[in-house]
Each structure stands twice: as C-alpha cells, then as structure tokens.
Amino acid sequence: MKSETFTSYTSLDFAQEPSFIRWVRAGDEEAAVFWQNWLQEHPEKATEVAEGRLLARAITLREEEPSAMQLSNLWNRIDAATQDKSTVTDHTPVVPINRGAKIRPIRRWLTYAAAACVTLLLVAYFYNPTRSISAGIAEQKTHQLPDGSSVVLNAASKVSYHPLRWGLARKIELEGEAFFKVTKGRRFVVKTAQGEVEVLGTSFNVRARGNSFAVACVTGKVRVSNPNGEQILTPGLNTQTNENGDLVAPYTLTTQATAAWREGKFYFNDAPLQEVFEEIQRQFEVRVQTSPEIANRKVTTYFEGNNLDSALYNVCWPLRLETSTRGNLIIVK
C-alpha cells in the first residue's frame, strides 16, 4: 500500500478503499496496523478518517444465509454430476467428502436445537413482562388473574404481576385499594409499599394509601405483616397500622362495611376526615380543600359513590361543616 496517495483522500475515498473497509468492517488486523500507523503519521487527516469510518460502517444488510444442509446437498449434486468424468485417482477424496456432508448437518442441527432450547429458557426466565392493571379516578376495575383468582380495583389503584411467573409464585404488587378473591392453591402474596399480605385461599380487602395500610379478611385466613410485626386475620377481622406504624390487634368490622366500596358504599370507622376526603377525591374527580384541624378530626361516617352532593352532605352536615363548590374545587370550613 502506498501511504503517500492517501494524503489527498477525502472521507468518501477512504470509505471506498478496500483495505480501509477491511479494517473498519472486518477488523482485519493487518489493515488495522497499517491504518493506525498511517493515522499517527498524518494526524491532520483524523476528521476525514473518522468520517470515512462512519460511512464505511454505516451500511448494513439483512440477508438470508444458506443453511449448511442446503450447501451440502448442492455440493452432492455437483459432485454426482462431475463424478463420471473424473479420473480414477480422483475418486479417493469422495468418501471423506460424503461423510463430512452427512454428519455435519446432523451435528449442526443438534447444536442449533440445543442453542434454541437454552435461548428459549433464558428468554422465558429473564423476559418477564409485568402486567399492570390500573383503575383511574372515578373508576373501578375487575381483573382475573391467570389462576382464576380475581382482583377488584378501587379508584386510583394499581396492581402489577408477572404472568409468566404466576404459576411458580402468586405474587402481586398493589398501590391503592383492592379486593382479592383467591382460589385455593399455593401461597398468594400481596406486596405493598406499606406491608405484605399472605394467604392460602380466601377473599380479603387491602388498602395501602399514603401512610394507611388496612386489611380486612372476608373468608379464609390471612397473614398481614409489615416491618413492625404481623397479625393473623380470620373472617370478619380487620387490622390496620396506627400512628406508630404498628399493626393493631385484629378487631371486628361488620362484613357489610368491608370492601363495600365494590358496591359504591364507603364506610369509615373512627378515621381522620382527611381519609374520607381523599376517598371523595378519588371517587368523584374533585379536589377537597380544608384546614389541618378539620382534616385531623376522627369520624365514623358513610357515603355513597353515585352522588357527590349527597356524599358531601352525609359527611359534612353531622359535623356542622360548610361546603362551597368552585368548579372542581370543594372548600370545607
């Protein structure tokens, strides 16, 4: 290669120079040594060379490779057709050729099959799309899980799980509130940021919003745990976190009240008004504004999710609170 002629090369010329192409595209070592040395002697051409590299590298091509089997068969046909005319001495290499042609495709095929199996397993293990179902504001959603268990999502709530791993571990993540009806079988775990609920086959309600984490068991048996401890719930029992983040001892709650949100009924038992207003915000797509003193007041109340005015009336009138509405904003005083 004459190094001197290259000094007048543009990026286009470089991109068309065979040894340059071998360097860039095939990583040819001899070519690489040549061009790296050349570049060191001609640093002023660095930009042209860099652009040439980019150009030479840019084009790709999708093309179908002939299979080894296809090529072997084709050779066998050529071999047979040229057989008669070849002299006797030429016959000797024919045997090893045929053996090579017969064994190779099988061995190749096995290799491919094994590779395909491994790839498939790896893909199945790592490629784990999470399925997410979420209910928006003023919306409820029912979703059937792969094993026939079902989830009913309350407004502004979301669950996600791995459908492919579901058969191995029934694990579902929850943000918000949902009612679960679990078919009998393996461990079923609901993970939330606030704690975990583990069951065998049962139906139960989980609410995990903000700091509040509450679980109510309707049928079966449920184990609720968070970093501070755990509680076992049997039907009709309920537990929730208190101010210290501890799970309170199970207490009875009328089954009517438990997960009544599914029928559009919302019960609150000695809950801060803040919680009630947040539920109203989620059910009606409004914003409720009030003072901290009012928000912290504990109430036992009830509203229905079909009418905003009567819901506000139900909650606020007994407490002698006044409401005024400005578009989507409700001010409570």
Binding site: Q16, A58, I59, E63, P93
Partner: protein, 192 residues
C-alpha cells in the same frame, strides 16, 4: 494455497480443488445470486450449472488472480441469461434493467442515540432511492470485498464508471449521515 495455485490444481483435474473452491465461495455466491432471484431454488440451479461447467471446461479456462471474481462474473452472466429467457417467455421484449434487491439498512449502533424518528425515516427513504446498479456496487464493495477493477469486470463497466457509481451512492448517504456524524464527532472528542 493461493488462488493461482488452486486454480492451477483445478486445471490439472484435481477434484479436491473443485470442492475447496465450492466450500470457500458457495455461500457468498448464493447470497449474491439471491439479490437477483428471490427464488432460492433457481439460484441453486445456477450455481450447480456453474460448477459443473467449470469442471467440464477446466482445461480451457483462462487464468485468474481472484477465483471469487471469476465465479461472480460467471454467475452473474448465467443469472442474467436465465432471467432474460424468463422475461422473453412472458413478454417478448428486451429486458431493460436487472432487479438487484438488497435490503440495506443503517448500523443501529450509529443511530440509536442520535437519531430521531424523522431522520431515520429520511435515511430509509434515501436507501430506498438508490438505483439498482448503485445497490449492486455497494453490495460488491461492502459485502463481497471487491475492488473497482473487479466490480467493473463483474458488472461489465469500466473502472471509472464503477467508481463514479459507488461515489454517487456514498455521497447521498453521506449527506444524510452528516448530522449524525457531527453529533458523533462531538461525543468522540468529549465536546458535549
């Protein structure tokens, strides 16, 4: 063994030389042939005839410094003849241009970060706008490792025409790549 020696062995009637030549070049020939003929079976037939004829005529064949070039030239002639015959069967008029279909793309590594969808579609359009002869030149240059003399012989062009053809194809590619190139260069020198 060099191409010259291998070729001489073939001329001397060494069947192993024929097999070696086949093993070294069959896959590339097949892929090149497929660009003209979507039907793989037809390409196989052409390659089969090519090698049988090569063997039958081994004593008369001229010397060559590049076996691959020789095979490409022969295969291309054979394909062109076959296609012409097909076309004449269907419509009795002279075929104007051979179809060379190569599904060119742009190296994803280059465009992944710097490219927005609009520019990528521009690139695709530019690739699609390449003429069939330009495609063939680019193919021979970048995927079959041929120089201009060889490309000229294969495509029945003179050296300068082959060069011009390739230059124009690359120039249009360069225009589009320029923007990517600047971004890439800035990254390279750590300016961004």
């Amino acid at each position: 063994m060099s191409d010259l020696e291998r070729w001489q062995a073939l001329k001397d009637g060494d069947k192993r030389a024929l097999e070696h030549i086949y093993r070294d070049h069959a896959a590339v020939l097949f892929k090149y042939g497929r660009k003209f003929m979507p039907d793989a079976q037809l390409v196989e037939d052409c390659i089969q005839d090519l090698f049988i004829e090569l063997w039958d005529a081994r004593q008369r064949i001229s010397a060559t410094d590049s076996i691959r070039k020789y095979l490409f030239v022969s295969l291309r002639r054979k394909i062109v003849k076959t296609l012409d015959r097909q076309v004449k069967k269907i419509a009795s008029e002279e075929p104007e241009e051979r179809h060379f279909q190569a599904d060119f793309g742009i190296d994803q590594l280059l465009i992944q970060n710097e490219m927005d969808a609009e520019r990528e579609s521009k690139l695709k359009t530019a690739m699609a706008a390449l003429s069939e002869r330009q495609r063939e030149v680019l193919y021979l240059k970048y995927f079959a490792d041929m120089d201009y003399n060889q490309i000229g012989e294969i495509m029945e062009l003179n050296y300068q025409s082959a060069r011009n053809l390739s230059h124009r194809a690359l120039e249009s590619l360069r225009q589009i790549l320029l923007v990517i190139f600047i971004v890439w260069l800035c990254n390279f020198f750590g300016l961004i």
